[in-house]
């Protein structure tokens, strides 16, 4: 079972790497999907460069969203901030109900076309999963453990940094993984506002009715997302073991 999973992972990684470095390798395989006379492999720009930008946008958005969500969650679980908890919850929830396309449409007039509106949309989308997970992680720390921490003489700051956050880390990482997956898949539509992501390949395919473009773009995004989610999942399990559960 484990061996099979590793084989699948390595295979996915190998195929993705080959496609990103030498997309022509797949020309013959993709040719039946392309319209007669049209190219089967997207070559207008380097797919490797598109993938790099794609991942970079998602990574920056996830990091920003995580930082904001953690700050909110920590504040909302302090005695001084507990009154704000319901407010933060509803704002974060409301953020999630906007369709990403709408966020893009609203962002373009103020920041222009390109990577910036995409980054804004992805960041907004990434906050909620991390916030909710961090909250349940922090609130899930056993009251006896907190009581003992306080009783042993930890300051409120030490209690947060040495007890609450380490114990909430697995939950936080699970939120980060969710955010990253959302960001990676949503970065695709950034291409509609001229962000240079792998979505460009899919959109070129839609525009020219070239199924080969659509398939290679979608497959590359899916492979990238699965591999990154998988790696973050491993990180999450490592953190859970360290937090003393398992």
């Amino acid at each position: 079972m484990k061996a099979a999973a590793w084989t699948l992972r390595l295979l996915t990684l190998a195929l993705l790497a080959v496609y990103l470095i030498r997309p022509e390798t797949f020309a013959a395989a993709l040719a039946p999907l392309a319209p007669a006379g049209a190219p089967a492999v997207y070559t207008q720009s380097s797919v490797l460069e598109l993938a790099a930008i794609h991942v970079a946008i998602a990574a920056v958005a996830t990091v920003l969203a995580t930082a904001a969500a953690l700050a909110l969650a920590v504040f909302a679980t302090r005695p001084a901030g507990s009154a704000f908890l319901p407010l933060f919850r509803s704002v974060a929830n409301a953020g999630q109900t906007f369709p990403p396309v709408a966020v893009l449409a609203i962002a373009v007039p103020s920041v222009g076309f390109g990577e910036a509106p995409t980054l804004i949309a992805l960041t907004l989308y990434g906050v909620l999963p991390v916030f909710e997970n961090a909250l349940s992680g922090i609130e899930g720390v056993s009251p006896a453990v907190l009581d003992a921490a306080r009783g042993a003489g930890l300051s409120p700051r030490q209690e947060l940094l040495e007890v609450e956050l380490p114990l909430a880390l697995p939950a936080i990482l699970s939120g980060v993984r969710l955010s990253a997956v959302i960001a990676l898949s949503t970065a695709t539509i950034g291409s509609t506002v001229a962000a240079r992501t792998l979505g460009e390949v899919v959109i070129a395919g839609l525009a020219t009715n070239n199924l080969a473009y659509i398939v290679q773009g979608a497959a590359a995004i899916a492979a990238l997302t699965v591999l990154i989610s998988d790696a973050l999942g491993a990180l999450e399990r490592w953190a859970a073991r360290r937090a003393g559960r398992g």
Binding site: A144, R150, A152, L154, A243
Partner: protein, 313 residues
């Protein structure tokens, strides 16, 4: 050592601890007993400022506890609770080292202290030190919780039903350990408990709480023989009282000259054990032996029965 002066805690209109004053001698064990909701935990937690009093004050070694920041105060007061609250992400050794580390002890000193405490509580440091809490039994976790509370040589140890969740045999062992360690370290202990045997056998003095008020504070013998209120009398159980009274003293000073057969009783055995042994074997008297096995005399059923009567004192 600990002076509690007119301590009151109010939640809205609820007076949870009501004007309690109490003097606790250095090196004493005081058991705080009372019905559920009578304010025992709240009283205990006001000593280390886990709960801030509404009025009144607490002095430790003459110093007002409000003179020190709460988290700094707590580093000089051990605190052990039911359900131990061990940090699941830290090893046993790291758990025990918590307060010494906060106090900035150097590594070697912390290590030596951790080893010393784990050994004291019967946990081989090389085996248990590197483990995580979930790899220990409930009884072992509880002992680590107490070891952690004692790590930084606290002047005072506060315990809230520390042995409540343990089975009777493990609990008896933990109580015996605590007594021995407390005698050795000379720490002042305030122990909240629902277990009246624990209170009478472990404590030098018993404080009885009733609806937020302290209704009696006296030696175990006194609270047994002269309970201040009906509640205090009921708490120790009319059917149990004579036996609890017997369990407080050894047979040594009931020993008289004479001859008796059968299994001997050790002079330091408590009187309740001696009575049980006589009743069970159907004898009217048993030989008493000293620590070295030498014959000291006999103890009779009649003397034991006499000693079980409250009037006898």
């Amino acid at each position: 050592m600990i002076t509690i002066e007119r301590l009151t805690k109010r939640y809205d209109d609820d007076v949870v601890v009501d004007d309690v004053s109490l003097e606790i001698a250095e090196g004493a064990i005081v058991a705080v007993v009372g019905a559920s909701g009578s304010g025992k935990t709240t009283l205990l937690r006001m000593i280390n400022r886990m709960v801030e009093p509404t009025s009144g004050r607490v002095l430790i070694a003459g110093e007002d506890t409000r003179a020190t920041a709460p988290h700094l105060l707590r580093r000089s007061i051990g605190y052990a609770i039911q359900g131990h609250g061990l940090f699941p992400h830290r090893t046993i050794a790291e758990n025990v080292a918590t307060t010494p580390k906060l106090l900035g002890w150097d590594k070697a000193r912390i290590e030596a202290r951790v080893d010393e405490l784990l050994s004291l509580f019967g946990l081989e440091p090389a085996i248990y030190g590197p483990r995580r809490p979930h790899q220990l039994s409930g009884g072992q976790q509880q002992r680590v919780g107490v070891a952690r509370a004692l790590a930084a040589f606290p002047r005072v140890l506060l315990m809230d039903e520390p042995f409540g969740a343990l089975d009777p045999i493990v609990r008896a062992k933990a109580q015996a350990d605590l007594r021995a360690i407390q005698r050795k370290l000379g720490v002042t202990v305030v122990l909240v408990t629902h277990d009246m045997d624990e209170a009478t056998s472990l404590a030098d003095r018993i404080a009885i709480m009733e609806r937020g008020r302290l209704v009696q504070e006296a030696t175990p013998v006194e609270v047994l023989t002269h309970p201040a209120t009906q509640f205090a009398a009921d708490m120790f159980g009319a059917d149990e009282r004579p036996f609890r009274l017997l369990s407080l003293k050894s047979v040594a000073d009931l020993t008289q000259p004479g001859e008796a057969g059968g299994e001997p009783i050790a002079a330091d055995a408590d009187r309740r054990e001696a009575l049980a042994a006589l009743l069970w074997s159907g004898r009217a008297a048993a030989p008493v032996t000293g620590a070295g096995g030498e014959r000291l005399g006999i103890v009779t059923l009649a003397r034991l029965v006499e000693a079980a009567a409250a009037k006898a004192r």
